[in-house]
């Protein structure tokens, strides 16, 4: 069950550049999901806004759905697209 409490949020690559930090904390409202945490962060870091279509979420180092609940003590990571593709190496 989701509830109140705090979650750690980790930001990487372009997201950490945009936010100016690699790590922050969010207060968890009732029923807050991974995508909801991202929306809450966008208020604090407006530069992060508009990325919902490319973002993935990892909860405690496992990929999860955007609507996955976030609980007290969780570590949520916002995962931008990885480099991928033929041209990379």
């Amino acid at each position: 069950m989701s509830g109140t409490g705090k979650a750690k949020v980790r930001l990487f690559a372009r997201l950490s550049d945009l936010a100016g930090t690699r790590e922050t904390e969010v207060e968890l409202g009732e029923g807050l999901t991974a995508a909801g945490v991202y929306q809450a962060l966008c208020t604090r870091f407006p530069a992060l806004a508009g990325l919902e279509n490319s973002l993935m979420y990892a909860l405690n180092a496992e990929y999860v759905e955007p609507d996955h609940p976030v609980r007290d003590g969780d570590e949520l990571a916002l995962i931008p697209p990885v480099s991928g593709g033929r041209d990379v190496l």
């Binding site: 550049d17 180092a61 931008p80 990885v82």
Partner: protein, 147 residues
């Protein structure tokens, strides 16, 4: 099996020593190397970021996928983070197997999967600018689709 994200230069000999086993007649080793050009631009250097705890977990997942598909003896993967100069090695993937075909196929598949799902990111820095390279949105390692 051995999976690591490290800021230290990558040591290929150590990786090969790890996967080499008496029953394995073949080892395929892949080096991802920083090259001096990308998308028509001259690259000065790269900067790699990673989510290390998750990256090693996902590496293990893709290694298990590959081991379920090919008769592979052992697998080891290392990725480097931080600033890397032209010619430095960013990624090493080593696979041992009894015969060569499986070593090649499994190693190639691992590198492909690595680039799709392991949370490691690359920033290209060139004369007068820089950009984080982003591919397709990450697909879920189990379902193969976006969750």
């Amino acid at each position: 099996m051995f999976f690591e994200v490290t800021a230290e230069p990558l040591d290929a000999a150590r990786l090969v020593a790890h996967v080499r086993k008496d029953e394995a007649g073949a080892v395929a080793l892949f080096y991802g190397v920083v090259r001096d050009n990308s998308r028509g631009r001259r690259v000065l250097y790269l900067e790699y970021d990673a989510y290390p705890e998750m990256a090693t977990k996902v590496m293990r997942q893709i290694a298990e996928e590959v081991m379920a598909r090919w008769p592979v003896t052992d697998i080891a993967i290392r990725h480097r983070t931080g600033r890397l100069e032209i010619g430095e090695t960013s990624l090493l993937v080593a696979v041992s197997s009894p015969h060569r075909d499986e070593a090649f196929a499994a190693c190639h598949a691992l590198v492909d999967r690595f680039k799709e799902v392991v949370p490691v990111w690359k920033k290209e820095v060139w004369e007068g600018g820089e950009t984080w390279i982003e591919g397709e949105p990450v697909r879920h390692p189990e379902t193969g689709g976006r969750p």
